[in-house]
Amino acid sequence: MAQYKLVTCTINGKKREQIVDVRASLTDMIRNNFHLTSVKKGCEVGECGACTVLIDGEAINSCLYLAVWAEGKNIITLEGLMNPDGTLSDIQQAFIDETAIQCGFCTPGFILTATEILNAGVEYTDDELRKLLSGHLCRCTGYQNIFRAVKKTMLRRLGKDAEAELVK
């Protein structure tokens, strides 16, 4: 017999209640029940990072996370980053400006991990940044422009706009 459970959580700032099959991954719940299709499936075993969401501010692979574990959690998907007035968050805008997007399939995950990185308010070294971004695979960009988008945004958030402009 199928087993169901009521899950109460916050998704993109909104309190949500959903009855889920306990066998569902968080990816399944977010995509199928809430139609937030920015959460992508690239491997479903935690190797590619395309399904990344933020749970209580931390990036996780939603494919390897049971939907029932979302109980009481605060979940952010890419759809949740746009401001209410329709403008984009700085990191989304940076991905656009720095040509960090190609096929777009890894983009949602990358932006969410970048959001966790940027929210730390720390100025990371290049090596540290590369390590913090290493849980996402991309086949189009060679990561170069993604890296630059994140680095520039990090510097801007720390008030180092002039330095950000010099990042190549």
């Binding site: 099959d21 569902a24 990072g49 990036a59 996370y65 049971l66 574990w69 849980g135």
Partner: protein, 295 residues
């Protein structure tokens, strides 16, 4: 959607034990980063799961009354790495678990899961062996403490007594182990992230007050045998010796007396042996430096 027969969510350690006694066939799931992968692959398809994900009581790092470092089994890798106690007393453990998979895995994967699946390549395992960690198990008869080397039985099997409803609740590093000691871990893998170790080597040492003599050197490997292992011959060969490059090289060559990596499609035995020696040397040199010594 996972092919799962049933899910039981534990509400406390006590409840987890009860569930385990009730459903002895069920698999414990903590962070899920290994169990769910195996379920997807079909290896654990159709199984029952007991989720301990909600047990906040066994999450976090603390110092107990004997100044032992207590790491709750559900503590995630990223929380271990960022923990001030870990950073101060056993930073190498934080560094080692910071090499597991990628950041999203480290935000979910737990040290308990990493040790309970009994895998030789686990990034925490060689360091925990080299620092003689104690595993705390809690079951219907109370708590049981095991040196980590006894916890690992064979590849994929650890000493957890399901009949007693046991679950792992903590990993403990006694003061005697970390006092005046520093170490270094090298993960040898085919890429710099998102990889499993071809071989992992963790070394730590305690030097004499004048930093001239090795008082105590400990070394352990992952993927040098079916389970993570210490290397007693090499340790015996260097303990009490002077801190010199010659002695470190002698030490690193001695590891071959104890380790027995195998040929697999991932790497040849000869290659693993060669790398093991080089890693031992580099790890000990770094450990000496971290103890304030000089080579």
């Amino acid at each position: 959607m996972y092919d799962m027969k049933a899910l039981y969510e534990a509400t406390s350690v006590e409840n987890a034990i009860e569930l385990r006694l009730e459903h002895p066939e069920a698999q414990i799931i903590a962070g899920g980063t290994d169990v769910l992968v195996q379920m997807r692959e079909g290896k654990r398809a159709g199984k029952e799961l007991i989720s301990i994900q909600g047990l906040d009581e066994i999450r976090g790092v603390s110092m107990d009354e004997n100044e032992a470092i207590r790491i709750g089994s559900l503590t995630t890798f990223s929380h271990i790495t960022r923990d001030p106690i870990i950073q101060k007393y056993i930073n190498v453990l934080g560094e080692a678990v910071d090499m597991v998979g990628g950041p999203q895995i480290r935000n979910v994967g737990t040290i308990g899961g990493n040790t309970c699946n009994g895998v030789t390549s686990a990034d925490s395992a060689s360091t925990l062996h080299a620092w003689e960690a104690i595993i705390e198990l809690t079951g219907k008869n109370g708590k049981r403490y095991l040196p980590i080397k006894d916890f690992y039985i064979k590849a994929g099997t650890v000493d957890i007594n399901v009949a007693d409803g046991e679950i792992q609740t903590a990993v403990i590093i006694p003061k005697e182990s970390y006092d005046r000691t520093a170490g270094f871990y090298i993960k040898y893998a085919m890429r710099n992230a998102m990889d499993i170790a071809t071989t992992g080597c963790s070394v730590n040492c305690r030097l004499s007050p004048d930093k001239k003599t090795f008082e105590r050197v400990r070394i352990a490997y992952g993927v040098a045998g079916p389970v993570p292992m210490r290397v007693p011959s090499a340790e015996a060969a260097i303990n009490g010796k002077e801190v010199t490059l010659e002695n470190i090289e002698m030490f690193s060559k001695t590891v071959l007396e104890d380790i027995h990596p195998r040929d697999s499609w991932r790497a040849s035995k000869a290659f693993r042996q060669h790398i093991a020696v080089e890693m031992a040397k580099r790890c000990l040199i770094e450990s000496v430096k971290r103890c304030g010594g000089d080579v």
